[in-house]
């Protein structure tokens, strides 16, 4: 359910290392809690995000929630498909529903995130 090679934040974002970059999305747990996602507001390519500071908003029929950056750095890619297909976040949160790719300014921040086992414990699914 929660890929072993991902890192996880307390706010339910995942971070997947791809060389010097990190792909970011929200976890299955968060997607299920939100229920049907209807809108995802993402930053522009080139903007800066900061560790555990909001970088966007995800909106479902139930609530609007802030998205927190699991690492600091520059946004180099944004999942444009979510603009027309927000349901991807529910269908495949750990894959097609990714949100941004960040060029890390401080790779050590990844160590401050949880591994899959710690995250499962965090959400009570261990």
């Amino acid at each position: 359910m929660y890929p072993e090679d991902y890192r996880y934040s307390t706010e339910h974002e995942w971070a997947k290392r791809e060389d010097g970059k990190v792909r970011v999305g929200i976890t299955r747990f968060a997607a299920d809690r939100l229920t049907d996602v209807v809108y995802v507001e993402l930053p522009q390519v080139g903007s800066q995000v900061r560790y555990m500071h909001p970088f966007g908003v995800v909106e479902s029929v139930k609530a609007a929630s802030e998205l927190y950056a699991p690492v600091s750095g520059r946004v180099v890619e944004v999942n444009e498909r979510l603009r027309d297909h927000p349901e991807l976040v529910n269908q495949d949160p750990h894959g097609e529903g990714w949100m941004i790719v960040v060029e890390m300014s401080d790779p050590s921040e990844l160590d401050r995130l949880m591994d899959a086992q710690a995250y499962r414990q965090h959400i009570g699914e261990a």
């Binding site: 049907d36 209807v38 809108y39 909106e59 029929v61 139930k62 609530a63 609007a64 929630s65 349901e87």
Partner: protein
């Protein structure tokens, strides 16, 4: 055949609801008066209907609505609470309703006196020093309050950058702070549902402009440490902002001014019986302590001897925030409410609101989880987690099923810190019989979650329209009628 045709679909070519006489001035062709690019080549696709078509269409439509005049609304004062009809009548007195806003001051002394006296009453009830009636609603009041806070710090040559809000706050609080240009810092709630004092202390410093606190908070709980919170906030020179949305739970009993707040807004529709819903017109009076008074928006009503006038000469004012004097007719209703009930009556309003909420909380506790189960104020938050785990029925389903029992649904999925939240605010006007009927409906639905979950999951079944596809409506909004081609 559609279940309920749109007014456009009732259109019959050539049908008219009016007849105009021939003009008594010589007609001129439109082309002579307007440039060609502003003229239509074809008439707009407006419905062509008779007067009676219009009357029947909208009257029938109105019968499909649910209103506080027909049934119980556990959404409470946020959205719909009963307002005594007397105040509607008072607001319609021609002396009030036909006033022109440009009438000279000497001819509207009565209206100005009403505003001034309402200000005195609200000052006394809130424990604050000065008020403005300008803001058009609660969120507008928040904006004006924080603009005044910013002006206050600017006048002292201080630059503060942050506003702290609890994680249980109304969404308008962080939105307001961001709009005024502050960085928003969120502080968590503790296990009792109070603002976590330790977490607050960790964030407070000389960068903090204000703490925006709701009391009682959105969990319906009184902030038990409000005096200590105020002490810590003031120790770093920051301001205490009260989101007065829940003032109706403490009016006549305790005063925000005495709790250490420097500035607050009051939603007159929640606490002082002005109209709800429909997007206004609202009234979000802002009250401040004396150190913020110079920054009040213009104009301010002042009394000089036995005369009243509007004071525009206020050099430190944040300026105008609303045309004329706010939504005057609402202020008349609030005045009438306060004068009808008097001090003891207002206190009784708060006491009844609190008693009713606690009655429901205790009655429902065996059937629904109550995450913060302590004496509440005017509302409490239950949770549908138990039902969801047991039978996969969500809070949304339970809310929809309530419609079949003849009740409006309560607030759901707010506050965000409670999973599957069901927030119930019965208000002060409901009888024990109504409250008990509501309990019986909630108990019956809980039973249905076990015995017949499908009926709950597909509710409502008795309303003019069934379950609406909210997801599709949000993902693919279709906001405009177009003729069938």
């Amino acid at each position: 055949m559609k279940d309920f045709p749109l007014i456009f679909e009732r259109s019959v070519p050539g049908r008219r609801g009016f007849g105009l006489p021939e003009p008594d001035v010589p007609p001129r062709p439109l082309e002579e008066m307007l440039p060609a690019h502003l003229l239509r080549t074809q008439p707009p696709a407006l419905p062509e209907v008779s007067e009676l078509d219009v009357i029947r269409h909208y009257t029938r439509l109105s019968h499909r609505n649910f209103s506080i005049d027909e049934g119980f609304y556990p959404l409470g004062s946020c959205t719909m609470k009963y307002n005594p009809k007397l105040h509607e009548e008072v607001a319609r007195f021609p002396g009030f309703s036909r006033l022109h806003p440009y009438t000279p001051e000497e001819l509207v002394q009565g209206a100005l006196q009403l505003l001034w006296e309402l200000g005195e009453e609200l000052r006394e009830l809130s424990g604050m020093d000065a008020v403005t009636f300008q803001p058009a609603a609660g969120a507008h009041g928040e904006l004006v309050g924080l603009l005044m806070v910013r002006a206050y710090f600017e006048s002292r040559g201080e630059r503060r950058t942050r506003v702290i809000v609890p994680d249980s706050a109304h969404g308008t609080n962080p939105a307001t702070a961001a709009m005024v240009g502050y960085e928003v810092v969120t502080v968590r709630s503790d296990a009792r549902g109070n603002l976590d004092l330790g977490a607050l202390e960790g964030e407070l410093d000389e960068r903090t402009a204000a703490l925006m606190l709701t009391n009682p908070n959105t969990l319906g709980l009184f902030e038990e440490q409000v005096d200590r919170i105020a002490e810590r906030v003031h120790a770093v020179g920051a301001q205490m902002y009260l989101d007065g949305a829940n003032f109706n739970a403490m009016v006549g009993i305790t005063r925000p001014g005495d709790q250490g707040f420097d500035v607050m807004h009051m939603n007159l529709h929640k606490t002082f019986s002005t109209p709800h819903g429909g997007g206004g017109p609202g009234a979000g009076v802002v009250a401040v302590k004396s150190h913020l008074e110079p920054f009040l928006p213009v104009p301010v009503v002042v009394r000089e001897g036995d005369r009243y006038r509007l004071d525009f000469d206020r050099p430190h004012s944040v300026g105008r925030v609303r045309a004329f004097y706010g939504n005057f007719a609402n202020l008349v209703r609030a005045y009438a409410y306060i004068r009808t009930l008097g001090a003891e009556g207002l206190r009784a309003v708060a006491e009844h609101a609190v008693l009713h909420a606690n009655y429901l909380r205790v009655r429902l506790a065996p059937y629904y989880d109550i995450p913060y189960d302590r004496v509440c104020k005017h509302e409490f938050v239950a949770s549908g987690v138990r039902q969801k785990r047991r039978s996969g029925v969500t809070t949304r389903d339970i809310a929809k099923r309530l419609l079949d029992y003849g009740f409006h649904a309560p607030t759901v999925y707010f506050p965000l810190i409670v999973e599957e939240a069901i927030m119930v605010e019965p208000t002060e006007t409901e009888s024990l019989q109504t409250l008990e009927e509501f309990v019986q409906a909630m108990v019956a639905i809980n039973r249905e979650c076990e015995t017949d979950p499908e009926t709950v999951r597909t509710a409502p079944h008795t309303t003019p329209v069934g379950r609406l596809d909210e997801v599709r409506a949000a993902r693919h909004p279709d906001l405009r009628w177009r003729p069938a081609t």
